[in-house]
């Protein structure tokens, strides 16, 4: 069962950057328009309106989300009126183009293509500005997950001891010849990938035929196992390593609370940061299990094979993950929160039509369940973020400007499988590399660079992309080259205290 969960986790490894949902819905309609046309149209249509954007365009204004104008006004009070003007103008356009897609997913209006194109030009302009912020929003959790895994690997010896293998990798690597070992690792990989494919296809089939209860049950059982059993083992090993005694009563209390709150946060509602923290924890736990139970060469071959599989599954038209994402988009549902890390919250258009003034600026960030959509005061989130970073600014009643905003998911989503496999790579580098920290650091930076590039591609292509291939490729390349080429060199340099 738990591998089912891991397979599910591993396989929903897609990034969905939804800068604005409508752009994804209407993207297929204008997929044939070329970039040059965008630029021309943009110049024609927006030449008069984008005055405010030609003002002091420093990083502060550029990286703020254009959809929450009061945020821009915090940066530079002078820009507030123009920014608001531009925002409402932009919103009228986006609102206009959004209504058909929101209502029934189809649009027959002739005026819409032009507005769609214009909106997408603006969206494209915003993507590069959005891009940096979202990249950072993902750097932090990925880094945290890797730090947890590396810290555990380096301190708790349990996770580097060989204590048998999973049934999914039945071939042992304790063979005398290199060829036999290689063959065994390739066979292990084939079996593992087949299991993952089967699980993913099963999940997609269930999702397509709306067997939500089954999927929920499966996910709940898997996260139960992760949150309770694996946490218990982890805590036990950590206590053993540091030789700390804990009685069963305290242990039960701690594990029960941790697990129960985790279940609630992941599957129902909870503060966003707590949910993110739990998702990071379960990814780290899963990665630790993989690091422990996958034999060495098999782990590297599996990492390579999984990134190829990810590429195929997300980009091919009949790929299971692509079908999953598209079905979720068609039905306008978020993909299960238990499988995806989301850096921000979801909010709806229905609620936005209500009296905006009644929604006070709250700092609450409740995450939505799958079937219940809730209001989130996104501007408050952005505000709190920004006002922490810069000097305190007076708060505006921002809700009035949010009325026309369509359904939008701000922030980036990254599948938990990506977290897991990134952490497996870095953890394996930490566990097995004889060059110790240099290799780990190199793999860590390689993965972050890959993530950067992937998010950049995401901002350009605006559809779900596989997050594994680039990062894992860089990670593997850096691991092997650092371990075999850089490490001996750095060791010699360090022994003579030479600096290059």
């Amino acid at each position: 069962m738990w591998l089912g969960e891991s397979a599910a986790l591993g396989r929903v490894s897609t990034i969905c950057l939804r800068i604005s949902k409508h752009s994804l819905n209407i993207w297929p309609h204008i997929s044939t328009v070329r970039k040059a046309l965008y630029e021309k149209l943009m110049m024609i249509i927006f030449m008069n309106s984008s005055d405010s954007e030609e003002e002091a365009c420093n990083e502060r204004t550029s990286l703020i989300s254009a959809d929450s104008p009061p945020a821009a006004s915090y940066q530079d009070g002078l820009q507030a009126p123009e920014a608001a003007e531009t925002q409402t103008y932009r919103k009228r356009r986006t609102g206009g183009s959004c209504s058909p897609s929101d209502a029934d997913g189809g649009n027959s209006d002739s005026g819409i293509p032009v507005r769609e194109i214009a909106v997408d030009d603006k969206e494209e302009e915003l993507t590069l500005k959005y891009g940096a912020k979202h990249v950072i929003m993902l750097f932090v959790p990925v880094t945290l997950c890797m730090v947890v895994v590396v810290a555990t690997i380096k301190s708790v010896r349990f996770y580097t001891e060989k204590n048998g293998q999973l049934i999914y990798t039945p071939f042992s690597e304790d063979t005398p010849s290199v060829g036999q070992r290689l063959l065994n690792s390739v066979l292990n990989t084939i079996i593992m990938i087949s299991v993952i494919i089967v699980m993913t296809v099963f999940l997609v089939v269930l999702y397509k035929y709306r067997c939500y209860k089954f999927i929920h049950g499966w996910l709940i059982l898997s996260s139960l196992m992760l949150l309770f059993l694996f946490t218990y083992i982890y805590l036990g090993e950590v206590l053993k390593t540091y030789n700390v005694a804990m009685d069963y009563l305290t242990l039960f209390f701690v594990i029960w609370n941790f697990g129960a709150v985790g279940m609630i946060c992941i599957h129902w509602k909870g503060p966003l940061h707590l949910q993110q923290a739990y998702l990071i924890m379960i990814s780290a736990l899963m990665a630790l299990v993989f690091i422990k139970y996958l034999p060495e060469w098999s782990a590297w071959v599996i990492l390579g094979a999984i990134s190829i599989y990810d590429l195929i599954a997300v980009l091919c038209p009949r790929g299971p993950l692509r079908m999953l994402v598209e079905t979720a988009q068609e039905r306008n549902e978020p993909i299960f929160p238990a499988l995806i890390y989301s850096s921000a919250m979801v909010w709806t258009v229905g609620m936005a039509k209500q009296d905006a003034a009644s929604r006070s600026l709250t700092q609450q960030t409740w995450d939505s369940a799958e079937d219940v959509r809730e209001i989130h005061d996104n501007s408050a989130y952005v505000e709190s973020e920004i006002s922490e970073a810069r000097s305190p600014a007076p708060t505006h009643p921002t809700t009035s400007l949010l009325e026309d905003l369509e359904e939008e998911e701000r922030g980036v989503k990254l599948g938990l499988g990506d977290f897991i496999f990134y952490s497996v790579l870095v953890g394996k580098a930490a566990a097995t590399a004889s060059g110790d920290w240099n290799t780990t650091l190199a793999c860590f930076v390689a993965i972050l660079i890959g993530l950067c590039l992937t998010l950049l591609l995401l901002a350009v292509f605006k559809k779900a992309l596989p997050a594994l291939p680039i990062s894992i490729t860089f990670g593997l390349v850096f691991y092997f080259s650092t371990d075999n080429l850089v490490r001996p060199f750095m060791d010699t340099l360090a022994s003579h205290q030479l600096y290059i």
């Binding site: 630029e39 943009m42 984008s50 954007e53 030609e54 365009c57 420093n58 990083e59 502060r60 550029s62 990286l63 494209e124 302009e125 590069l128 500005k129 940096a132 912020k133 990249v135 950072i136 750097f139 970073a389 810069r390 060059g435 110790d436 920290w437 240099n438 650091l441 930076v445 972050l448 660079i449 950067c452 590039l453 950049l456 850089v486 750095m490 340099l493 360090a494 003579h496 205290q497 030479l498 600096y499 290059i500």
Partner: protein, 199 residues
């Protein structure tokens, strides 16, 4: 070796650089990306549609240099720091007992040098002054060559620091600073004209 050695050396080596990071890089996401990914992303960042780049070329140079410096420092220092946490005696076989300390200082000067070299190199590329780039490469070779003196720390550390101050002054002047602004900022006043380097 003790935790004191570990923390002391890591703060000596990385303290100033992380301070620079904290005050000038961390708050701007774009700079963080350039710090991590370096030149790979800078070209794409410059492709902002509305005609103005969200980050100036000088900031990019500074952040790229800082990133290179941090990586080089990390690669030099991190294994030493890990060993500093374990058991052992420094210099038990007759080597210098100041090994960790001098490594930390050397790392710090290398990080600073990389930052300034970044600024100089970018400036040289921007203004087509090849001799600036040659000077950067040449000073890099000199500093690396100086480390051959290394058990003789006077011969390697002091010239490196002098070179670092010279490079710092040069980078400061190239970024538009002048002595007036420096004095003013040291006295706590605002400078009216040119920005401070790296801001």
């Amino acid at each position: 070796m003790t935790l004191a050695v570990f923390f002391g050396c890591s703060f000596i080596a990385f303290g100033p650089a992380l301070g620079l990071c904290l005050f000038s890089v961390v708050r701007e996401p774009l700079r963080v990306i350039i710090l991590v990914a370096g030149k790979a992303i800078e070209g794409l960042v410059a492709l902002s549609e509305d005609g103005c780049s969200p980050i100036s070329i000088q900031q990019m140079a500074y952040v790229a240099g800082l990133g290179f410096g941090l990586m080089s420092g990390a690669f030099s220092m991190i294994n030493l720091l890990a060993d500093a946490l374990g058991p052992g005696t420094v210099g038990i076989h007759g080597d210098s007992q100041l090994y960790f300390l001098t490594s930390a200082f050397m790392t710090m000067v290398m990080i600073f040098l990389h930052t300034f070299w970044g600024i100089l190199f970018f400036h040289g590329c921007e203004t087509q002054r090849w001799w600036e780039m040659v000077a950067v490469i040449f000073t890099h070779l000199i500093v690396s060559g100086l480390t051959f003196w290394n058990p003789l720390y006077l011969g390697s550390l002091i010239p490196s620091y002098l070179l670092m101050f010279a490079t710092a002054a040069w980078a400061y002047v190239l970024s538009g600073g002048c002595t007036q602004n420096l004095l003013r900022s040291l006295q706590g006043q605002q400078s009216e004209t040119s920005p401070q380097p790296g801001s």
